[in-house]
């Protein structure tokens, strides 16, 4: 079976991480992924510390396997969320939207492994100077907040620039993407969009349906003008946003107003017309709801098959 060194260092069966998506990745999903041999990750997003603690406790009740928390460093509650991470001795955290430098020492003390998400070589180099376990190189194909480079171009450049294991993310929706990531030099993958449609994922059913219905060109980028571009499925909200952005004088206040709370609106209330349905470019490949274990099994089986088959070309 497909194994890399990353499996040993994280104590997981297969090198598959589930993206820690805010408002979407709760304890139920994280535990299901961890039970299936991957690394399930709770999305802390902007949630207050006690909400995050409740999700961690739920995860621990549902699995004995390692799990993670994605800590959004721009969250207004980030310091308190980190306190919870220390207290609960969370096995792994992934971090986004900034630099976890000031927390690293304490995290090391409690034994939490840190895996920052990066979208450029310079940032990867800077993060690798600290004692991080691995890096997630996330290409612009991903859903949610994104960088500029594609996974295809980003992963090998980061692999060449750092000595720590690299995990590829963005645009990976099946075993073909998994095999490709390994070929680019990654030791593992992070999958988000496909896991949104896992049966165990508690996101609103309308959100899952929107992804299942989506076609290749539906995952569009909005809010570029703010410097924090977001990939989400085309709907009434994204049309309003692009209209605003294309006007002569961008009304930043109105833009901000439309974006605040928009992910929650889609993920929890099920308003997939006016809410932000964050999803990656592989949304067009996701065709049905499956269990987390079925997703992991098919990723592995397909990647195995492809790597074996391609070796015959030699």
């Amino acid at each position: 079976m497909l194994k890399t060194e990353l499996c040993t260092s994280l104590g997981i069966e297969y090198p598959i991480l589930q993206g820690g998506m805010a408002w979407i990745a709760t304890g139920e999903l994280a535990a299901a992924v961890s039970n299936a041999g991957g690394l399930g990750i709770i999305g802390a997003g902007n949630a207050p510390a006690e909400v995050v603690r409740a999700e961690i406790e739920k995860t621990k009740e549902l699995t004995d396997q390692p799990y993670g928390v994605n800590v959004m460093l721009l969250s207004p509650h980030v310091d308190q969320v980190m306190e919870v991470v220390y207290e609960e001795k969370v096995p792994v955290i992934t971090t986004g939207a900034g630099n976890p430098g000031k927390y690293i020492e304490k995290l090391k003390e409690v034994g939490t492994k840190v895996i920052p998400v990066v979208a450029s070589v310079a940032l990867a180099k800077r993060m690798a100077r600290m004692e991080v376990e691995a890096l997630i190189a996330e290409g612009t194909e991903a859903g949610g907040h994104i960088g500029e480079l594609t996974t295809m171009a980003l992963v090998p450049q980061i692999v060449d620039a750092v000595d720590v294991p690299v995990i590829a993310a963005g645009g990976i929706g099946d075993g073909r993407g998994f095999a490709a990531a390994l070929t680019l030099g990654a030791q593992g993958i992070q999958v988000g969009t496909r896991f949104v449609c896992a049966e165990e994922c508690t996101v609103h059913p309308n959100y899952k349906q929107a992804i299942i219905k989506a076609r290749d060109r539906d995952a569009v980028v909005t809010a570029r003008s703010t410097g924090h571009p977001v990939r989400n499925l085309k709907n009434r909200l994204t049309r309003k946003l692009s209209k605003l952005e294309n006007s002569q004088e961008v009304d930043k206040e109105r833009l901000e107003e439309l974006c605040v709370g928009s992910l929650r609106k889609a993920a929890r209330e099920g308003d997939v017309k006016e809410g932000s349905v964050m999803a990656g470019q592989v949304a067009g490949m996701v065709e049905r709801e499956e269990t987390a274990a079925e997703i992991i099994d098919s990723l592995l089986a397909e990647a195995n098959e492809i790597l074996k088959e391609k070796a015959k070309l030699l």
Binding site: N99, G101, K102, S120, A122, L123, K125, R126, E148, G227
Partner: protein, 76 residues
């Protein structure tokens, strides 16, 4: 070359801006159009040129050409 001139040269190179735009009090983000990832690259370039390591806490306080000059003069 003075620290100021070296820094200006790095800024012109890294941010692909005209030398005229890089005034002493130019802000990398507000005046020169840098984003957060550009800043990381800029800081890495300063580190390389002046052979020092700039911790993140310090990097955050370097917002303008003058800030960079001051920091280098004090720490390099």
């Amino acid at each position: 070359m003075s620290v100021l001139d070296t820094i200006k040269e790095i800024v012109v190179e890294e941010l692909a801006v005209d030398p005229d735009e890089v005034t002493d009090d130019a802000s990398f983000i507000d005046d020169l159009g840098a984003d957060s990832l550009d800043i990381v690259e800029l800081v890495m370039a300063f580190e390389e040129e002046f052979d020092l390591e700039i911790p993140d806490e310090d990097a955050e306080s370097i917002a303008t050409v003058n800030d960079a000059v001051e920091y280098i003069n004090e720490n390099a």
